[in-house]
Symmetry: C2
Subunit: 342 residues, 2 copies
DNA sequence: ACGTAAAATGTAATCGGTTGCAGAAAACAG
DNA sequence: CTGTTTTCTGCAACCGATTACATTTTACGT
């Protein structure tokens, strides 16, 4: 047990608690070199480590960031968390993790309280924006006392956001299919109450419109991100519109389902049907055929979120203004076999 | 800011701080019902929430568990973490997350200090056992003052372990290939400095020996869990031993690489070559052909670890003995297309 | 050598709870 | 109505750090 306290150190080093504290704080140069040495030696000798609780009790800072997440069993969120932890670690923060299992609801009161009572210095809200599950933002009763950075959420005034530019990525993916010579391009979207899903779909729509390609009723199927829903989606599209020769599938899991159905329905990919996914999951290159997809760097999203948050915290302490902004990262297209037709 | 303190509540409720504290503690029944009501009303009115720091400073308990993990970008570890968080949340704990990026090294001193100075009530060590990266356990200088539960580590006396029974799973997988009529069964292992990898391989070896099937030099290739290494592994096996008609690939990512190489080398799966993987990643059913695999419930591993840890903590507080044990969960075989030959 | 400013260190209050001990109130017995 | 338990509540010390303010020590100029 860390039974040694600052008082023990003080006694051994023959100085006062205050002096020890100053040595620990570091920046205060009002310490004689010789004294500092004595204190450090005592610390070393005792194997002393400061009590985090005492420190944050007095100073109101905990060097802890709360992160509220969802869907850790999926690739993207895991990477985000990993990136966030890495950056936090480098900046001297530790993460307090809370996972939500029902992202649609917005029952956040106790959650915020919990985080607050633990004196987190800031909060990362990594729950996708679904329906109006961010409505609590409007309720003044829920205004958290610490800065919050939102991930993958719709940019709005007075809100820090770090997200991938899903709209641009949707444009890129669809334009790629166009460039490959597809004439009838469908889309299998994520659940449309997700902001991200709507953005990707919008990219698809605008890409088609901008070149005057058809966008018939029935060129769209709504999935739920699962492989099964990708199967169902492609089946719907192809039965209603056999002329479809390209599909933008809005995540890789649905895409792998689509690939399977394409095989089973006798469509050659990419010759008869070009497919591009979204996410670039680890094994996308090993799907059959290798999946073209939009690569999004979720690790970077996590890192940026923490970096942004730490800046807000710092600014807040110095009473410097730091206006909320939205940071949009660009996804990159990765062309593999499933969409390459020339 | 949570500016309201227990003193504010006391003032409003016209009682002393001590009384408020007792109401908060709950179990103390030495409070008149009427008084309790007043206090609760005051708490409600003020929107009071206790300060975590103050509480753990005095009581030395933080209701926080530290979890040290590795490889969150992979499926298994993510699920473990998710399960751990879920159980922790149910038991009233919050997780403090720390990720390691170089699991081979065992530079754990500052890490343990950090966790300790934050008064975590217990620790979950979810870093795979690689080489002697658990050697710090032997060093008395590193004995953490809080209980530790190890995940996916070799069971040893005086050590709490929760893990999947990789050996039994290796047996099962290999016996399945035997039952499907394979005569020459190879293995693509994980890196053999990993304990888990060795266990799986051992299962393969013993399964073959127990039925007297050949196990030639060159029936084994060592991978590094990556899809690329699965490709390389299968290529090695098949060039040295074209007669191989079944392979136990020790994780699904390597298996997906193997599937690809099998295709490219013109081996039909499963007719010419039966393949079984390990992990049951989300899309295993959508590989081509659908991948047979050993399903391990990593979520449950996470849950169990936390449950075990909480029991140890409780026992420690009551001064009840609670002997270290190893909890081995069994993996379940999932037979899909890649290994079904009859 | 002495006065004064600057540097170094100490004293003590404070953060927001918990808890041992003691005193007050209520319950109960005779 | 008093004496004794039992139940309830308050006082005050304490957990381990930080920090404003006071005090001592050192440096420096003349």
């Amino acid at each position: 047990m860390s039974a040694t306290t600052i008082a023990d150190v003080a006694r051994i080093a023959k100085v006062s608690k205050a002096t020890v504290s100053r040595v620990l704080a570091g920046q205060s140069q009002y310490i004689r070199a010789e004294t500092r040495q004595r204190v450090l030696a005592a610390i070393e000798e005792l194997g002393y480590h400061p009590s985090h609780a005492a420190r944050s009790l007095k100073s109101k800072r905990s060097c802890t960031l709360g992160i509220v997440g969802y869907g850790l069993e999926f690739y993207g969120p895991s990477c985000t968390l990993s990136g966030a932890e890495e950056e936090a670690s480098e900046l001297g923060y530790t993460l307090l993790l809370h996972l939500i299992r029902q992202p649609e609801t917005n029952n956040v009161a106790e959650l915020l309280d919990e985080m607050q009572s633990r004196y987190v210095d800031g909060l990362i809200w990594a729950v996708p924006e679904i329906g109006n599950n961010h409505a609590w933002l409007e309720d003044p009763a829920f205004q958290p006392s610490v800065p919050v950075v939102f991930l993958s959420a719709e940019p709005r005034p007075n809100r820090f956001v770090v997200a991938v530019d899903n709209y641009a990525a949707g444009l890129t993916a669809t334009r790629h299919l166009i460039a490959e010579g597809c004439q009838n391009i469908g889309v299998i979207t994520g659940p449309l109450d997700w902001w991200e899903a709507r953005q990707r779909k919008l990219g698809w729509k605008d890409a088609l419109e901008s070149v005057g390609l058809p966008r018939k009723e029935g060129f769209m199927a709504e999935g739920n991100w699962s492989a099964t829903s990708g199967e169902r989606g492609l089946m719907q599209l192809l039965t209603k519109h056999p002329e479809i020769d390209g599909v933008f599938v809005c995540n890789d899991r649905m895409a792998v389902g689509a690939l399977k159905i394409a095989r089973e329905m006798g469509r050659r990919v990419p010759e008869d049907l070009a497919i591009i996914g979204f996410d670039d999951v680890q094994d996308a290159a090993y799907f059959y055929p290798a999946l073209s997809t939009m690569h999004q760097d979720m690790i970077e999203v996590g890192r940026r979120a923490v970096r942004e948050l730490s800046k807000v915290i710092e600014a807040q302490q110095n009473n410097t203004p730091y206006p909320p902004t939205a940071l949009l990262l660009q996804a990159e297209i990765v062309v593999r076999e499933s969409s390459r037709r020339r």
